[in-house]
Symmetry: C2
Subunit: 131 residues, 2 copies
């Protein structure tokens, strides 16, 4: 049974709060990068470019962890462990533009020539909230 | 040969910037938590309480990753992958108080009864800097 994000921490997904996404490298080491993040009420959404390390790691091993601090109070935070429920390129362009609107107030301006976006939907399994 | 932290990003270790520390759980999943962090010129220092998940994970598998955003500009950040070079309880009390001074302006106020602190020195192996 997936553990839901506590109601009182859902505001973290409305603010431009970064998530630090930990994935597993091919040799079992961890990787962690700051990412934009959204929550649709069930899944945490993360968006990357096809073929990047995050895409390769998440496609091979869907087990992830996320850490999100409240920008207004770093002693209020959420940790989520879960797994990739879906990897899709459908709607991924729209989703990166929506994320970009929330984080920097405009459609995603950093696309590289030929870049294809991919959306990962992450099912939360274990949640720790503080503050 | 350990890769050093670029000079122009060392200020991140002077500011009260949180690091998001990714470790490996016993079953190979990632874990990530926000931590206070210091840099001694060679090793990244992380401090936790003996017996906590971070201590157990780091003691079993010393491979870690850290992600640090500049509080003044989240599009300026540092990612460090490395491994635990030393785990020590010696000086760990002094180090948590020094970290606490930097982050919250006073000696560490959150000790639990009987809590023992442990200091991990992490050798950077791969560094990515942005912004």
């Amino acid at each position: 049974m997936p553990q839901v994000i506590p109601e009182k921490y859902k505001d973290l997904f409305d603010k431009p709060a970064f998530a630090h996404l930990a994935t597993i490298m091919p040799d079992g080491r961890p990787q962690v990068t700051p990412v934009w993040v959204a929550f649709d009420g069930r899944y945490v959404h993360v968006n990357t470019a096809v073929g990047r390390q995050k895409d390769r790691n998440l496609s091979r091993d869907g087990r992830v962890a996320l850490s999100i601090l409240d920008p207004a109070n770093p002693y209020r935070y959420l940790e989520v462990r879960g797994k990739v429920a879906e990897r899709t390129e459908k709607g991924a362009d729209e989703s990166i533009d929506a994320l970009s609107q929330r984080y920097i107030g405009k459609a995603y301006p950093f696309r590289q020539p030929g870049e294809k976006r991919v959306l990962f939907k992450i099912e939360p399994e274990h949640v720790t909230a503080m503050g």
